[in-house]
């Protein structure tokens, strides 16, 4: 399991737009670099990120090798209701990881 950092503001009022920030530990190997043995290091990137609120997709991203190692994403969400946010990363080599966080709405 890769280490993931998820920041969800906990003091949102109903209707506020909050910024959700996520970061996951991943090398995002581009497939363009040459290793010490002179061979190309095979590509190993995260290709897809999805954020769902109680199962409904609220944000998604498609990532390419031009995204930095340890991909960081910050995106907005209107806090209409409280619920469980799930964050899924999928990538090369069958990488899949899901984390959850609670969205509280005052």
């Amino acid at each position: 399991m890769a280490r993931a950092l998820i920041t969800v503001p906990q003091d949102a009022k109903r209707g506020d737009v909050v910024e959700i920030r996520v970061l996951i530990a991943h090398p995002m190997e581009t497939g363009f670099r040459v290793g010490a043995d002179g061979r190309r290091v095979p590509r190993d990137i995260l290709r897809r990120f999805t954020c769902r609120l109680d199962g409904e997709v609220v944000f998604a991203a498609e990532l390419f090798p031009a995204v930095s190692a340890n991909p960081y994403l910050a995106f907005p969400l209107r806090a209409d209701r409280a619920g469980t946010l799930s964050f899924t990363w999928e990538g090369d080599g069958g990488f899949a990881q899901t984390e959850t966080a609670t969205l509280n709405v005052a």
């Binding site: 670099r33 609120l53 998604a60 991203a61 498609e62 031009a66 995204v67 190692a69 910050a74 995106f75």
Partner: protein
């Protein structure tokens, strides 16, 4: 072809020439790459994404340092002017670059539930180049924004990823 000690020409001048020639080929390869990836390729990548539909300049802003000292992790924020209501919101934002090995950087899917059309991430930049963001609105119109950045330490070529 690598030369072993055994098949070194006897004449030291000839050997030196061979080594110089091999070095010249390496330099040419290193220089050729960024030149090949030019603005036309960027236009083609954008056209493939938009399906050739008209893209109007405006409404999209790319926030990025104009002078980047480390291309391995460049913070970028893309903002789109939009009320983000059910009738009028941003559906997608795609970010492209001019001179990395691949034209795509990232694509984001938003909805009226986003409330605001702002997305931030960190990207790699291989060299000084142009960044272009395309926003797709809920009514199907396309808007674009572009910015030029200067990179002093490149990603992809040197250093860790």
């Amino acid at each position: 072809m690598p030369m072993s000690l055994a098949d070194r020409p006897d004449d030291p001048d000839l050997y030196r020439r061979g080594v110089l020639r091999a070095g010249g080929v390496l330099v040419a390869l290193a220089v050729a790459r960024p030149v090949l990836a030019d603005a036309n390729e960027l236009k083609a990548a954008i056209a493939a994404y938009t399906g050739g539909r008209e893209t109007k300049p405006g409404r999209v802003t790319i926030d990025v340092a104009r002078l980047v000292d480390n291309g391995n992790a460049v913070p970028v924020t893309v903002r789109v002017e939009s009320p983000m209501i059910a009738a009028d919101h941003v559906r997608a934002i795609a970010l492209f670059n001019e001179r990395n090995p691949e034209r795509d950087v990232a694509r984001f899917a938003l909805s009226e539930r986003s409330g605001r059309a702002v997305v931030s991430t960190r990207i790699r930049l291989a060299t000084s180049q142009q960044l272009v963001a395309i926003a797709t609105m809920s009514d199907g119109t396309l808007w674009s924004g572009a910015v030029d950045v200067i990179v002093t330490l490149a990603a992809c070529i040197e250093g860790e990823g």
